[in-house]
Subunit: 454 residues, 2 copies
């Protein structure tokens, strides 16, 4: 009987376990989980803190019972301390300090990531929070209940920062978002970043750009947050959301090679440099399908894919990861903003000749009630005509998310922008136009970039 | 100067004209339009009759003024009577009976389709309507205003019939839908047809299947509709929507070859058998990308594509039609039902070994408010593993339409069902799951059909 040991009970680890058991019901699978929350949707934390998710338990993709019912063993509240790759053992310790040695035939490392702690003095002050784990979110929840903060400063205008700005506004708080870049959501082009800022401001959120927070200190019952350019704000609570970094101390102790931002290096089969050890999820470097190189881009979708591949290969499979396109979507109030593939600057760095054309239309025929504007930015190569990427912003019920997925599927197959017009996409007046907005935006790109003549 | 003459002012004709002018601003383009409604969205008629579209003029994709502003000449209320392909002239006649001869260098035939008149006696009775043109819809509109019908019988449970059932219910009428097949919407599998019937019934609509209407007659101020199996219904109004057939009398008079259901035969360049004559839209046979053969499938999306290609090639282009996948979506009340590619029976006829697996899940993470069930039927080839088609039913705001388009894009590229898991699709809890439902359904297919083992 094969012993598959998995370290980490989030997306990558659970996916690996489930896939291994699905393919081979004889394999013995044990998952070491550092907390009591296996298979939790940490992407859902903002919606728990907004009050939209009424019970934190609902954030579980599956309950511990559902997981163990598949024959998988869960070691909850066990921390892996060392990996002995020669003898194929992993030392674990529980909350009572009891140590134990686990043997493995195949090991999957899915230790995930932790919040980046920026260079801010006073991060340990009461009322200041990082937000990545379930425990983090309980701390925030308790603080809100107990202290009833009326104002919050959010440091970081990325996905989590803005989802939390929405969440805390939903809770009745007023919010200031501080972002060091010129626009929020710097993962999309500035014209969309400005749309997002406008949406935040419509909801009473103060957006401060080009500002670096330096210091947080207690002043009576409040906190004073100060930063560059004379930024100075008295508040009741601070959330710091400036990104994550891979958690790889354990992996390094076992001799696993790391690379970009310290993430574990793997091949497309999710194999590390050490035999019989796989790694997946937020702790690893991820292959980018368009850049043809590894990057660090921790996403839940990717962790699921990589974990599934690691689990399959650990039980004798031969599956390869097809690569990420960096497809992402976020909902902020009623606005959805999505991207896939490369933006101009990324494409240029990769040796392309990108041009981006922005196009705005309606998400469905404007004569049918409820039509909303949808803005699409198409990036293509002016030399080859190839599609390189797309960004979309629009009403979250305007199929923004699955429209970006049409681009993602086109990118997967290396389509030319012009070929988008050949796709047979669905249409009914309440939901689209005879040329879907995706195709209209591609046609606008072709017209502008390749010229109107044949 | 090239003279491009186009017969037909709906999707295909207007698309051809716009594309020709876009590519060559020196070309002289004239469109002969049989009525006064060029470039109207006939797909929008049900929403005009439901009252959701408050002014019929809003149904114009573009106004006549917008079209002529591009330099295109419109001959409104002119009917083309004969084509002389030797001398390259077209005879037209206006409403006053004045004839005129127009010369052309290139001709595009986009005469569209007309409603099929089933074998029912009494179709000409007052209060009985076919529904395909703007004039048809005005007649229905006037009748409803004047006679205030309280009940309607709709003959035909396809797209138009069911959209009209929704529309008339929206107007406060009670409706009986009569369909000769065992389920409504016979273009999708019966399990989805039954879902649709249930939705109709929830809205008070009577659904009668397996019934052929034979006779309609006036009885006092009402109509009596009778059919097979003793069907007998007294009503105030009858709508007949049993499909359309190509309008090709003119084309045949010019020697254009016709084929399936009498539709004009074209090659992938939209060329007919007669030099310098192109045809596009609801009057032609359409190349099916998966069946590798021509079929008759009149759709607005296809008409736009074909018209655009005809217009491009008429001014010197060399574009080929990539083929239809039969992608369609319809909204009935809050339910969207979509399909792309082949169903079992169609795939079998084409020599495949199809298996269809149905999968149900939530359109987004169920912990986030508003999650709705989404049902996906994946058809794949059990020998090759290739994706053959998909059908989806769910809430119309659950991205059903653009999820079918992910399948459509996958079909375009001949993906295997298993490869769907490799697509990097977007995720945020309010809009999807880490594996999009599209991917979950593909995984369910693989698990069931290819077996769980490697």
């Amino acid at each position: 009987m094969t012993h598959l040991l998995i370290i980490g009970g989030s997306d990558a680890g659970i996916s690996a376990a489930l896939r291994a058991r699905e393919l081979d019901s004889t394999v013995d699978v044990t998952i070491v989980v550092a907390d009591s929350f296996p298979n939790y949707s940490i992407c859902g934390i903002p919606f728990y803190l907004s009050g939209e998710v009424t019970d934190w338990r609902h954030l579980a993709h599956r309950t511990a019972e559902e997981i163990t019912a598949t024959g998988i063993k869960l070691l909850l509240n066990y921390t892996a301390t060392t990996i002995d790759a020669v003898n194929k053992t992993v030392q674990v310790v529980n909350q009572q300090g009891q140590e134990q040695s686990l043997t493995y035939d195949k090991l999957v490392v899915g230790t995930g990531a932790v919040s980046v702690q920026p260079q801010i003095t006073g991060l340990n002050t009461n009322g200041v929070f990082l937000l990545h784990s379930m425990e983090d979110s309980f701390a925030v929840y308790q603080y809100i209940k107990a202290s009833q903060p009326r104002h919050a400063v959010i440091v970081g205008g990325g996905y989590i920062g803005l989802e939390m700005a929405d969440a805390l506004t939903h809770q009745g708080m007023t919010v200031t978002v501080v972002e060091h870049s010129p626009t929020v959501m710097k993962t999309v082009d500035s014209s969309l970043g400005l749309m997002i800022a406008e949406k935040l401001q419509q909801h009473g959120i103060e957006v401060v750009n080009n500002t670096e927070i330096k210091n947080i200190e207690q002043q009576g019952t409040q906190l004073v947050v100060s930063g560059s350019d004379g930024f100075h704000k008295t508040t009741d609570m601070v959330l710091v959301a400036v990104g994550v970094k891979p958690l790889t101390d354990l992996a390094m102790s076992a001799g696993l090679k790391t690379g970009i931002r310290g993430a574990i290096q793997v091949n497309k089969k999710m194999e590390t440099n050490v035999p019989d050890i796989y790694a997946a999820g937020d702790c690893i470097e991820t292959w980018h399908r368009l850049l043809n190189e590894y990057i660090y881009l921790p996403l839940g979708t990717t962790a699921h894919k990589q974990g599934r591949i690691a689990g399959e290969n650990a039980v004798g499979g031969n599956r390869e990861f097809a690569g990420t396109l960096g497809t992402q979507v976020v909902k902020i109030f009623d606005l959805a903003v999505a991207r896939t593939g490369l933006r101009d600057i990324e494409a240029t760095d990769a040796g392309n000749s990108p041009v981006t054309v922005e196009f705005e239309t309606w998400d469905h025929k404007v004569y049918y009630p409820g039509a909303q504007k949808i803005r699409i930015r198409v990036t293509g190569d002016s030399q080859t005509g190839k599609l390189l990427g797309a960004q979309i912003a629009g009403h979250y019920q305007g199929e923004v998310a699955k429209r970006i997925d049409i681009f993602a599927c086109a990118l997967f197959h290396e389509m030319k922008v012009e070929e988008m017009s050949e796709l047979d996409l669905s249409y009914t007046p309440p939901l689209s136009s005879p040329w879907d907005p995706v195709q209209m935006s591609a046609q606008a790109w072709v017209k502008q970039v390749l010229g109107k003549h044949l």
